[in-house]
């Protein structure tokens, strides 16, 4: 096996992933600008909107994503040590956290929609413009984030299958590394969304 060639490939592939994560950062950065501008315009409405969100769901989902990030990071180390079964178990744990996160998000959104809060809903249209802006940003940012959670989980599930079949192994695991990097980015975005939406 040409170890040197495989190694340099992995470095290039990881660099490509980091550059992609950079573009993701700018995507969410644009949304954070929207948030900052409207926060300075409607501080009272944003504070009221934040209090209306369910802190339990927000905190639980934060803990879930941090734990999933821990498991994903451990999966990479386990792979470096050649512990294949442990890698599969850790990916499974990460996916479980991702699924619970999405279940929480579904319950949370359902409760909000049940209270008549969705972009353009009659209740929001009758209220102050700042309320509408806050909840539109809430649905936009958490929705885009949930989409990223779904994509990240799908990637990790695919890698889990590859590890099981032996296609991704101790000698070449850059696909696992890149998928976990994506997963950590999802966690990073939530680390900022959580205080900005729930604790404002």
């Amino acid at each position: 096996m040409n170890h040197a060639a495989a190694h340099s490939d992995a470095v290039g592939a990881k660099l490509g992933m980091w550059l992609f994560l950079f573009t993701e950062l700018l995507l969410f950065g644009g949304l954070f600008i929207l948030y900052a501008v409207y926060l300075s315009r409607y501080p009272a409405e944003f504070a009221a909107g934040g209090k209306e969100l369910n802190i339990f769901f927000g905190t639980a989902n934060t803990v879930l994503l941090l734990t999933s990030s821990l498991l994903a990071a451990m999966a990479v180390t386990a792979m470096q040590q050649g512990k294949r079964r442990l890698v599969i178990g850790l990916i499974g744990g990460t996916l479980l956290c991702a699924a619970l996160f999405l279940v929480n998000k579904y319950l949370e959104w359902s409760a909000k929609i049940g209270h008549g809060i969705w972009p353009g809903s009659p209740r929001l249209l009758a209220g102050a413009p700042g309320d509408s802006v806050f909840f539109s940003l809430y649905y936009l940012t958490t929705g885009l984030h949930a989409l990223h959670v779904t994509i990240g989980a799908a990637l990790l599930a695919w890698i889990g299958i590859r590890v099981k079949s032996g296609a991704t192994h101790q000698g070449n695991y850059v696909a696992l590394e890149n998928s976990t990097l994506y997963w950590h980015l999802v966690d990073l975005v939530w680390i900022f969304l959580f205080p900005l939406l729930y604790l404002i």
């Binding site: 980091w18 905190t59 990073l188 729930y198 404002i200």
Partner: protein, 108 residues
């Protein structure tokens, strides 16, 4: 013989570590989360938002350095990460400096 001809990469040397360091980082992240929830529910006036963002930045730094293994990565990775943050900083700072200073000039 192979051991003499190839130098182990940083990642391979890192692989020798147990999961202990990961659990410490995770525990810190949970402690910071509890802290931000508690302080976020207190009325600290204008301190609330900067404090929440500071805690979030510390948490993000921990994730990037340890979970994303940047601490053990090549200089090129460091350059991309710092470059990305610098460019994000330009995006945020220049846009906000425009928006927040618009009222300074009287409309003619």
């Amino acid at each position: 013989v192979a051991h003499e001809t190839t130098t182990p990469s940083k990642a391979e040397r890192h692989a020798g570590h147990g999961p202990g360091r990961y659990f410490v980082v995770w525990a810190l992240l949970i402690i910071f989360t509890i802290t931000t929830v508690v302080t976020g529910r207190m009325d600290l006036g204008s301190v609330n938002l900067p404090l929440a963002l500071t805690i979030a930045t510390i948490k993000a730094t921990l994730v990037v350095l340890f979970f994303m293994h940047v601490r053990y990565s090549t200089r090129l990775t460091w350059a991309v990460v710092l470059g990305a943050l610098f460019w994000l900083g330009i995006l945020l700072a220049l846009t906000m400096s425009d928006y927040l200073s618009r009222g300074w000039i009287p409309q003619s």
